[in-house]
Amino acid sequence: MSIDTQEITKPKASTKGMSKQQFLKAYRTMRTIRDFEDKISEQFMKGNIPGFLHLYSGQEAVAAGLCLLLDDDDYVISTHRGHGHCIAKGGDVGGMMKEIMAKQGGLCDGKGGSMHIADFDKGMLGANAIVGGGPPIIVGAALSAKTLGTDRVGVAFGGDGSSNQGTTFEAMNLAVVLKLPAIFLFENNGYGEGTHASYAVGSKDIASRAQGFGMPAYKVDGTDLFAVYELCKQVVEHCRQGKGPVTIEASVPRFKGHFEGDPQAYRGDGEIERLMKEEDCLEIARKAAVKKKLANAKELDAIDEEIASYINEVTEAALAAPAPGDDELLTNVYSSAY
């Protein structure tokens, strides 16, 4: 592992290193995310979901590839665009749907919603609606790991936009200084709302700037599940061995608007169509897996069907669930006596 700028790696897609079982797990995760996002988009249009939705569609390979390497007791922290991270980390999908619909049984009792989706049982420390809010917190999770002598790692997911926030930079420096098992995973989907990363990120790229902080940094094609997995394998291992933090910049497409309902006037002509055709990580993974005989189309179709009906089920359950009791307004403001 090198910290020389020249060696920021962009591993080539190759299925080697991933077992069939792992692949199927990742594929299932990716499909679950995609279907989940499509379903809540539909339910949002129907008026069944309050508030704001930022969908992860197009970025699935990143969460799925990384989380293959994590256990329940590793930590991730997320952003406003958090559904994919939560699902990949093993979050309770039914509880997520209920949460997003503001229902009883929601993972956050209906108090969080999409922008605060979290599953603490699975080490998912929450979506965070403050851009740059997460990295300092994951540094703390990584500090716990180090202080308590576990080999856990902490991953802060962030967007290209979040890479410019002061809190993110501080977190990176502190993680280097304390040599913590923290991974800063920037999903560069090209946009922070309607501002392009090429405008807002003043440096050559996110990875080289991170490298300047004194940690290894890599770029990876985030549409390529296998490439993500291969890189993350090294990176997670590096962290577990106590060698300090690492940054990953994964390039991904954003299939949807910044938020559901975004008119996206800032997009180029035909851009989204092209992205969906050429950069769909699910299609890319499926093709590569079938070609390399890691799985056959039938198996994958079966997963697709199974998940479609699973998502339908959790949706029906969430639609049917009651809203939180009105008397819950003042519960859980404090953890202890007040």
């Binding site: 503001a102 392009h196 997009r267 307004l329």
Partner: protein, 337 residues
């Protein structure tokens, strides 16, 4: 007179100020939108559409899209304000004070005093507030008290389109750092707004209603609920002074005290959490300065002491509602002194 929305009124004020004074600039995240993209520029004109059309008219040197970097946005505005410009910086949500608050309360607010009057900081920080959008705990807060408490800042919270335009034009020509709080819920409300430029002075309350039984003071959007309640009460023959301070700093104490001296009863309404909020502030001023006139306890109607919950039923319970206001008013009226 033409009718305009609150959004349009602020937009018009910005247009006119920029046309009149070339030192006025606008900066922030997505203030035009589309920077560096293949599609159209001015794609958003601010996520709330308030700065729409400024970029095409005044160009990139005066309408400046920034990365997500609130401390640098506010700091840059403060530095620009000290060196010849009149920046209007946008903070997308007031909830984001936390990532730039030093530049607001320790820097911009203090320059003039700390440097013995030699520095000026003529800048405006536009920010949005207000619950009800199901936007959760970090995108719904009204933190007007957090800036009102800071000496050196001025704080403006218009409740209608007319005031919004006049207060914005005043804010831009003011030589201090002005926090301009736009209530999201009000953007689509409208009223008559002159096409010409005009200013509404700071520190002059507006009487929405005049009456004699009770004084109600409200900050931001809750004012409209107060008006609904006041109108219902009027049908019963109960009349209220309904006062909108319009600026919480400076605060038109006199208007409030005068009214309470007459009515002897006060209810203060805001959408902040209850501790150390505007309702506390105004209540305490009256309890000190108009005590002799008071004939009943001063009631505060505020949001609940909790983060803003996401679920609509919980959020609605969190927000002070007409029923809460009416109940408070009746309690105060019924109090036998």
């Amino acid at each position: 007179m033409p009718v305009k929305t609150y959004r349009e009124a602020i937009n018009e004020a910005l247009h006119q100020a920029m046309a009149e004074d070339s030192s006025v600039i606008v900066l922030g995240e997505e203030v035009s939108g589309g920077a560096g993209c293949d599609g159209s520029r001015d794609a958003y004109g601010g996520v709330m559409g308030v700065t729409k059309g400024l970029l095409p008219t005044y160009g990139e040197s005066r309408v400046i899209d920034t990365p997500i970097t609130e401390s640098a946005i506010i700091g840059a505005a403060a530095g620009a304000a000290q060196t010849g410009l009149r920046p209007v910086a946008e903070l997308m949500f007031m909830d984001f004070f936390g990532v730039c608050f030093d530049q607001i309360y320790n820097q911009a607010a203090k320059f003039h005093y700390m440097f013995g009057g030699k520095a000026k900081c003529p800048m405006v920080i536009r920010c949005t507030t207000g619950a009800g959008w199901r936007a959760g705990a970090q995108h719904s807060q009204n933190l007007t008290q957090m800036v009102t408490m800071v000496p050196g800042l001025k704080v403006v919270c218009p409740t209608n389109a007319y005031d919004a335009k006049g207060l914005m034009l005043q804010a831009i020509q003011d030589d201090d750092c002005v926090i301009f709080v736009e209530d999201k819920i009000l953007y689509d409300t409208s009223c008559e707004v002159p096409d010409e430029m005009y200013t509404v002075p700071f520190g002059e309350a507006k009487y929405y209603r005049e009456g004699s039984d009770l004084t109600i003071v409200a900050i931001s959007n809750p004012m409209h609920k107060v008006l609904a309640v006041a109108d219902r009460l009027e049908a019963e023959g109960i009349t209220c002074d309904v006062i909108d301070p319009r600026t919480t700093s400076p605060l038109d104490e006199e208007a409030i005290l005068e009214s309470v001296e007459m009515t002897g009863r006060l209810v203060v309404v805001d959408e902040m959490t209850p501790r150390c909020g505007m309702a506390s502030d105004i209540s305490s001023i009256v309890a000190e300065k108009a005590f002799g006139s008071l004939r009943a306890p001063i009631k505060k109607v505020t949001a609940a002491h909790s983060p803003v919950p996401f679920a609509p039923n919980l959020e609605d319970a969190w927000i002070p509602q007409e029923a809460d206001i009416e109940a408070a008013v009746r309690q105060v009226l019924e109090y036998a002194s």
